[in-house]
Symmetry: C2
């Protein structure tokens, strides 16, 4: 590997001159050409470590995600990556495989790697998170959840639940099965449900609540159990994946959708459009969340101020899986 010293020697100038050339400092046209040529010939690539060691900062942003293989995550990452790229930052991704302990480790790891900022996608923020974040003293944007002590970027889960509630009411549904998730996940487990509850509050519907996980397989099982007991007119599912599981379970029993059973989701995943019948759901702006979180973390890194909490709007996608009653 060539170093700046090699280039300097070959070009017949001092290291500092080469450095100045590299960093856009003032260099005469003649030496500029010379250095340029030598760098080309030698395939010289500056050593980022040495640069960062001196400059005391890096252009790396670390993202901590619970998994790589989910629509929400991959869309959000794609958005982050896109924005970071244009701003000349690099994305470092740490996958925690849904293990909370690894989120904490990832924070320390990122500190070691000297990332300039951290974007955290976590379902739950604990004391351990806060402590770690405090210790490493790196700017953070929390995405998908709100926390009073952290800059947060969230989707409007309450509204999502609310507009979905209004929609199914307008469609005349009265026997509702609501398949939710753990309340440890405040956004999905609580806010979404609360919005929904508010919408249906004034009406007297029969509503049953069930808890399942984010996994399709679990949703299939929960749905099967529900069907064993009786058939609601609609299954309102806290995520598109849960809705997909319910659909699968319904198909397996020959239950016709939406004639016998209507189904709705939340998220607006690609797949929700592809299945038959296409799923009525609420669109979440994951891509935009990625972009915005990237912008915000850069602002934080560069000592600009950022709102403590930003909320992204959601919209209903009315498709085929809900029948009028």
């Amino acid at each position: 590997m060539k170093t700046i010293a090699d280039i300097a020697k070959l070009a017949g100038v001092a290291k500092s001159t080469v450095s100045r050339y590299l960093n856009g400092g003032s260099v005469s046209l003649q030496t500029k050409k010379k250095i340029e040529q030598i760098i080309q010939e030698q395939n010289y690539i500056p050593n980022t470590f040495a640069q960062s060691l001196k400059a005391k900062k890096t252009n790396m942003i670390g993202a901590i995600v619970p998994r790589l293989d989910s629509y929400a995550t991959s869309q959000t990452l794609t958005g982050m990556d896109k924005e970071l790229r244009v701003q000349n930052y690099h994305l470092l991704i740490s996958n925690t495989n849904q293990e909370q302990q690894r989120e904490i480790e990832a924070i320390y790891d990122f500190a070691r790697q000297k990332v300039s900022g951290i974007i955290l996608l976590a379902a739950e923020v604990t004391e351990a998170h806060l402590t770690a974040l405090k210790k490493v003293d790196i700017p953070v944007i929390l995405v998908g959840q709100k926390h009073s002590q952290l800059h947060s970027l969230i989707h409007d889960d309450f509204k999502a639940g609310y507009i979905m509630g209004k929609h199914i009411l307008e469609s005349g549904h009265q026997q509702i099965a609501y398949l939710g998730v753990t309340e440890k996940d405040e956004a999905v487990g609580i806010k979404r449900k609360q919005g929904f509850q508010k919408a249906i509050a004034e009406h007297h519907c029969e509503i049953q609540y069930y808890e399942t996980s984010f996994k399709i397989k679990d949703a299939i099982e929960v749905a099967s159990n529900i069907f064993d007991a009786s058939l609601p007119s609609i299954a309102v599912c806290a995520t598109d994946n849960i809705a997909l599981g319910v659909m699968k379970a319904a198909h397996a029993r020959g239950i016709r959708i939406p004639e016998q059973l209507s189904i709705t989701g939340f998220g607006g995943y690609d797949t929700s459009e592809i299945v038959h019948p296409a799923l009525t759901t609420v669109h979440y702006a994951y891509l935009q969340a990625g972009e915005l979180s990237a912008q915000q973390i850069i602002q934080l890194v560069e000592d600009q101020s950022v709102n403590m909490c930003s909320t992204l709007d959601v919209t209903l996608i009315d498709r085929e899986s809900v029948d009028k009653r």
Copy 2:
């Protein structure tokens, strides 16, 4: 930020002693305790740059991927991440958004970041790739395609096509529509098709070839055009996503699957199991590909030898979307 010098001073020892402690060198129990305590108190985190600058190597592996939001990619990345993690390496991901030029840039970027190895997921390897790889002189594993000059890790696309061909023949299908992709993609565009062709070679089937992209939307359109002309007994699709598009198009016209039209895919994506009817397809070991590529790149980095080409096995997943004729 604390440095090793701060710790040394506070512990009343030399920097080298602290360094030795950090790197597991010989240090007396007493000083060990002392240093340990100070490090705790001070939240000291060693500067990776300074370390790497001296040690001349990093524990980072760079992955270049065409996109983040595909099943194949996210599974492969998950596998890589998992394996890298246990071996104490870190994963740097560069998303090229399907733009070939960005693959080249990513190679140079990674060189600047001093990654120890590169895992490349590319549909096509050009001269520019080879040149860049040669210039930066970093070990590489190519995943998903085979190239004579690069260590490659591939799925057995030929066999995949072959077993699928055999399977549909056994099911009695004679009017086949094959929806493939560009031949620039050797694995998917050529090998998969060739395997399929070999299987049906001895039989006299009617077969029509169509070309589409990897996008579901495009597949929907191509399928609609096919249906306008006539209905084959089966649509053999080069990827699960294409199959999903064909399914969507069929549903839209009320074509019953598999009674009127059978459909098959390749890949074994999650979604293929969820749709109704569940898709008959070929399972690709993406997770394993990720793990193996990670192992291999580490071997290369550590100067161990690796096979020039490894092939991962594929298996048929016989589900509901193919009817006996």
